[in-house]
C-alpha cells in the first residue's frame, strides 16, 4: 500500500521539474497554489523528460534560480504525502515525517487562505475513549509542528476519531501500524 517515500519523491521531482519548465512561458501556473513571491523561471530552460537522470537542465538559469525551482518542486512533491504514522500509544512525530510536515507548514504559511483539517486516529487496541484522546494528542502534535514551522493556528482544525475509522481493516501488526495515523485533509 505505502509507496516508498524515496521513490515517490523522486518521481514527483521529475514531474514537477516538467511543470516548472512549462511555467517558463510566463503563464499563470496551475491552480494558483504558487504564491506571487515565487520567482518565475526564465525562458530558455530546457526540460528533458522521461527517465533521464537529472531531468531538468538549466542552461539559462542561474544556479540560484535552479536551486529555488528544485526546492519548490521538492516541497511540492513532499506535500503529496498527507498521512503520518505513529508508534503504539505515542504521539511522537517520526523523523522521516519531519521534512514532509515542514513542506506542508511552509505551504500553509505561503497560502494564508488555505485551511487544513488534521484527523487523528488510533489502532483498535486499548479502550475507545482513551484512543479518542490519543488520536487528539497525535493531531495536536502535528498541529504544533505545523505552527512552529510557519502555519498559523487559525488555518488548522483538529478532530480525533480514535479507533473508529481505521484505514485498514483487520487485527494484524501491519493493519494497526497503518491505522495509527494523522491525516491532513485540505479543503
Amino acid at each position: 500500500m505505502k509507496l516508498s517515500m524515496h521513490s515517490k519523491v523522486l518521481a514527483m521531482l521529475l514531474s514537477a521539474g516538467l511543470f516548472a519548465g512549462c511555467s517558463s512561458t510566463g503563464e499563470t501556473v496551475g491552480d494558483g497554489s504558487y504564491d506571487s513571491d515565487v520567482a518565475p523561471v526564465d525562458d530558455g530552460s530546457t526540460v528533458y523528460g522521461g527517465d533521464d537522470e537529472g531531468g531538468v537542465s538549466s542552461s539559462a538559469l542561474t544556479e540560484e534560480e535552479r536551486m529555488a525551482a528544485e526546492e519548490r518542486a521538492k516541497m511540492e512533491a513532499l506535500r503529496d504525502i498527507t498521512t503520518f504514522y505513529f508508534d503504539f500509544d505515542t504521539a511522537e512525530i517520526k523523523p522521516e515525517a519531519r521534512d514532509v510536515l515542514v513542506a506542508h507548514a511552509q505551504y500553509l504559511a505561503n497560502n494564508p487562505g488555505q485551511n487544513v483539517r488534521l484527523e487523528g486516529h488510533a489502532d483498535e487496541r486499548g479502550t475507545k475513549e482513551y484512543n479518542l484522546a490519543l488520536g487528539e494528542r497525535r493531531a495536536n502534535a502535528v498541529q504544533r509542528f505545523l505552527i512552529v514551522n510557519g502555519a498559523s493556528r487559525g488555518q488548522i482544525e483538529t478532530v480525533s476519531y480514535g479507533e473508529e475509522k481505521p484505514a485498514v481493516m483487520g487485527s494484524s501488526e501491519s493493519a494497526w501500524a497503518q491505522n495509527r495515523r494523522v491525516e491532513l485533509v485540505f479543503d
Partner: protein, 437 residues
C-alpha cells in the same frame, strides 16, 4: 471464544445449555445468545412449567424464560422438564422426596391466569432439603409482556436464594456496526439482558460511542459524531427527545452520570488537553476536576458517589487512578502492567474492573480495593468496555469472535459465561442499566 476444561458432570450441563442457543425473534432483535460455560458450583433448581388457566398467550413461556435467566447467571443449573417426575403447580402437589432423588436443591412451581388484558402469575419457591416454602407471590403483567413477567420472577427467585437482588429485568445499551448501502451504519440499541426485545434508539453513518445510563434508567448519555465531530447528547428513552449538552472544541467524550442524575462527568479538551469535568445539567456549569498535561479520561463515580475513578497516562502509560473527592490528589490503583484503562467500579465498593494489557493481549481484570490484589478475569485477547451488572454479580464486555465484535457476559469472579453476538456485523460498548422499581 472463552473455553474451559470441562469435568464430566459439566458436559451434561453444556449439552443442556447448548440447547439454549436460539435466534432472537422479533423485527428488531439482532442479538443471539450463546451460553459457553456453566459455573462449577451452580445450584440445581427445577423450574416446573406453569399451569395455565384461561387464555394465556402462546409463544414465550414464563417458566422457560425463568429457566433461561437462571442458567444464564451461571449460578444455577436448571433441570430439563423432560427429566421431571411430576409437574406440580401448587404446594400440595410437590413431593419433596421425588425432587431430592433428582438431586434438586430448589423447586419453583406456579400457575398463570388471565385477568382482562393482564396475565397473573402465582408462584412458589421451595427449598427441597428443608421442605420449606421460601417465596410465594403473585405478579401481573400485560399479555404482551410475558418476558417482563418472567424476568421479574427470575429476579425474585434469585434474591430469595442468594440474598442479592436479581438483575434479569434490567436493560443493556450497546452499539452495533454494520454496513448498509456501502456505508457504515452505527446503531444505538437497548435490549433485555438476554439480548431479546432489542430496539434501535439512534442510527448514524458516523460513530456513536460510550452509552451511559442515567441512574433512573430513563435516559442515556452518549457521544455521537453525527455533525462530523464528537458531541455529548442526552437521550430520553420514552420520548426519543435528545439534548446536545457538550459540543466544545476538541474532545467531548466519556460521559458518566452522578448518582442523583443531575450532573455528568465528561472528558473535554476545550483548553487544549484532555481533562475531566463535571457538568451540572440544569445550569450547564462546568467544574474542572483534573489539571494535568497527561490524558485524563474515562471517569466514573465510585460507589460512594463522591470520588471518581479515571484513566490517566501521567505515569507514562494509561493507568487507573482514584480521586477521593473532587480536587483531591489522585491515587494510582493499578500497577500490574503498562496498560490499564476504563475503570468501572461495582456497587459494593470492593472492586474496580478495567481493561488490562498483558503481553500483547487485552483482557478484563479487576482489583480488590481493600488489598490491591489484581485478578485477570478473561482469556480472550481483545477485550474492551467492561460494565458491571447493578447487583455486582455479572460483568459484560466486548470481545472479538472470528473477526466480529460480540458481547460476553461472565460472573464477576470470572466464571460462567454467555455471549451475545449480533446476527451480522459488530456489537460493542455494552452498558448495563440500573435496577429500576
Amino acid at each position: 471464544m472463552t473455553k474451559r476444561i470441562w469435568t464430566t458432570s459439566h458436559k451434561a450441563v453444556a449439552a443442556a445449555l447448548a440447547a439454549l442457543i436460539m435466534l432472537a425473534t422479533g423485527a428488531r432483535a439482532e442479538l443471539l445468545i450463546r451460553i459457553t460455560e456453566g459455573a462449577d458450583a451452580a445450584l440445581p433448581i427445577s423450574v416446573v412449567p406453569f399451569a395455565e388457566n384461561g387464555s394465556i398467550p402462546p409463544g414465550d413461556k414464563v417458566a422457560n424464560i425463568v429457566r433461561d435467566d437462571l442458567a444464564m447467571s451461571g449460578e444455577f443449573r436448571p433441570l430439563s422438564p423432560e427429566k421431571m417426575l411430576s409437574l406440580p403447580s401448587r404446594r400440595e402437589e410437590v413431593y419433596f422426596r421425588d425432587w431430592r432423588m433428582l438431586g434438586q436443591r430448589y423447586v419453583l412451581v406456579g400457575e398463570l391466569s388471565r385477568n382482562g388484558d393482564r396475565v397473573v402469575a402465582r408462584y412458589e419457591l421451595f427449598d427441597v432439603n428443608q421442605e420449606k416454602r421460601i417465596l410465594g407471590e403473585t405478579a401481573a403483567a400485560s399479555v404482551n409482556s410475558m418476558r417482563t413477567l418472567g424476568h421479574h420472577i427470575s429476579d425474585k427467585v434469585y434474591e430469595a436464594i442468594t440474598g442479592v437482588p436479581g438483575a434479569f429485568s434490567t436493560k443493556l445499551a450497546y452499539i452495533t456496526l454494520d454496513t448498509f448501502n456501502g456505508k457504515p451504519r452505527y446503531r444505538l440499541q437497548v435490549s433485555d439482558v438476554d439480548g431479546k426485545r432489542a430496539k434501535i434508539r439512534l442510527e448514524s453513518q458516523e460513530p456513536i460511542l460510550s452509552p451511559a445510563w442515567s441512574p433512573d434508567g430513563k435516559r442515556l448519555a452518549y457521544v455521537s459524531f453525527e455533525t462530523g465531530k464528537p458531541a455529548i447528547y442526552i437521550h430520553e428513552l420514552s420520548s426519543g427527545q435528545r439534548t446536545k449538552v457538550a459540543d466544545f472544541k476538541g474532545l467531548n467524550s466519556a460521559p458518566a452520570w452522578s448518582e442523583d442524575g443531575r450532573s455528568l462527568l465528561m472528558t473535554l479538551s476545550k483548553d487544549g488537553n484532555a481533562e475531566i469535568y463535571r457538568m451540572e445539567l440544569a445550569s450547564r456549569q462546568l467544574t474542572k476536576l483534573t489539571n494535568h498535561w497527561a490524558i485524563d479520561t474515562e471517569a466514573t463515580y465510585d460507589h460512594s458517589g463522591d470520588g471518581i475513578f479515571f484513566t490517566s497516562d501521567r505515569s507514562g502509560g494509561p493507568q487507573i487512578y482514584h480521586m477521593k473527592s473532587p480536587g483531591a490528589e489522585p491515587r494510582r490503583i493499578t500497577f500490574g502492567s503498562r496498560y490499564n484503562a476504563r475503570p468501572r467500579p461495582d456497587n459494593t465498593g470492593d472492586y474496580v474492573y478495567y481493561v488490562h494489557q498483558r503481553n500483547s493481549a487485552f483482557h478484563i481484570a479487576r482489583t480488590n480495593l481493600n488489598n490491591g490484589e489484581e485478578t485477570v478475569l478473561t482469556r480472550t485477547e481483545s477485550d474492551e468496555s467492561p460494565s458491571v451488572s447493578p447487583n455486582g454479580r455479572m460483568l459484560i464486555y466486548a470481545t472479538k469472535q472470528g473477526g466480529d465484535s460480540v458481547l460476553t457476559v461472565i460472573s464477576a469472579d470470572g466464571g460462567a459465561a454467555y455471549s451475545l453476538p449480533a446476527s451480522e456485523g459488530d456489537v460493542r460498548e455494552p452498558a448495563w442499566g440500573p435496577i429500576v422499581n
